[in-house]
Symmetry: C2
Subunit: 166 residues, 2 copies
DNA sequence: GAAACCGATTGTGATCTGCAACTGGATGGG
DNA sequence: CCCATCCAGTTGCAGATCACAATCGGTTTC
């Protein structure tokens, strides 16, 4: 659907796919929040995405190959969105962007704890996380006993929320 | 000027600053193309940025602290734009984005050679490059004998252009 | 003194965005 | 069966942002 390409530069092409204010947030919520349904993405968003924008981005990302869409067997009307290998490989981009934002922008403590852990964990942690995402979204089995990076990140986030809210 | 913040999430805040199709390209051209004047950025852009968009982005990025503006002593009307420490630290983001784009999008060989070198060089190369950018843009001296990453990248690019054009 | 160059600004339509209301169908409880 | 609720979106609309071309006043070059 991408008939007009401005240039063959990798950075430019990446921006043509994810260079807007919402696409990466949708992927972030699917990736770190494990949100898989339209409603979850719509109402769970910290930033308050509008339903038409969400619908548009889900469609665009699907066309770009960053997301797949499948009916939910448990509910005839529900749709399950999954990450693809391409979007799973955005983990390092997310980590870099999170590290940079954490360092240079007025982030909130609760929401930046995950970025901090991703930064401290480095590439080894990213790889573990990506393997977990492959299991969750692509059904690729992992060896037993592999811990859950997602759970670690979520726990750390909730602990920060509890501390702040106390 | 950023009165409305959608959330304190590092990724969201980063996107509010550089989450559009042009900002990162302007920084890319300053960073990898060493373009420092309005005209250089305007006419040297592979993607053909419009002058009003360029003016707007330069102003926005200046307000966001990613760019500084100074008169050019050699020409009363010229203005020199420089990267700041904040934008220099976008090097890892650029590298991650370049690696991802190179792997998943229809990039051209000439324009992706730099992304490939950045990926192969890894964080050690990025640090050397960032030191070089600090010297070029912030006037921070480096030890003598430190090679030029920028020159290496540019040479590799030109070699690819020559090969393709031959 | 004329031509070229400098960093922008202006005007114009086209596209994108945010917001609220709404759609047709599915589900669950009484 | 009935009705409230939930589901993934769609529609309409106003305002913001976008791309493109022409142009600005001033500076430098020849």
């Amino acid at each position: 659907m991408d008939v007009t390409t401005r240039s063959g530069c990798p950075i430019n092409l990446s921006l043509e796919v994810i260079g807007d204010k919402w696409s990466l947030l949708v992927i972030r919520d699917m990736m770190f929040g494990n949100r898989r349904h339209f409603r979850e993405l719509l109402t769970g968003s910290e930033e308050g995405i509008a339903s038409n924008i969400l619908a548009d981005r889900l469609q665009r990302l699907t066309e770009a190959g960053l997301i797949t869409r499948a009916p939910d067997p448990s509910h005839k009307q529900k749709v399950v969105y999954s990450l693809t290998e391409a979007s799973i490989q955005l983990v390092p981009v997310m980590a870099a962007l999170g590290s940079w934002g954490r360092r240079h922008l007025p982030v909130s403590r609760e929401l930046s704890i995950r970025a901090e852990l991703l930064e401290r964990g480095g590439p080894e942690l990213w790889v573990r996380f990506m393997d977990e995402l492959r299991e969750l979204h692509l059904g690729v089995p992992r060896p037993d006993g592999a811990g859950s990076v997602l759970a670690e990140l979520t726990e750390a986030y909730l602990a920060e929320v509890a501390r702040a809210g106390a």
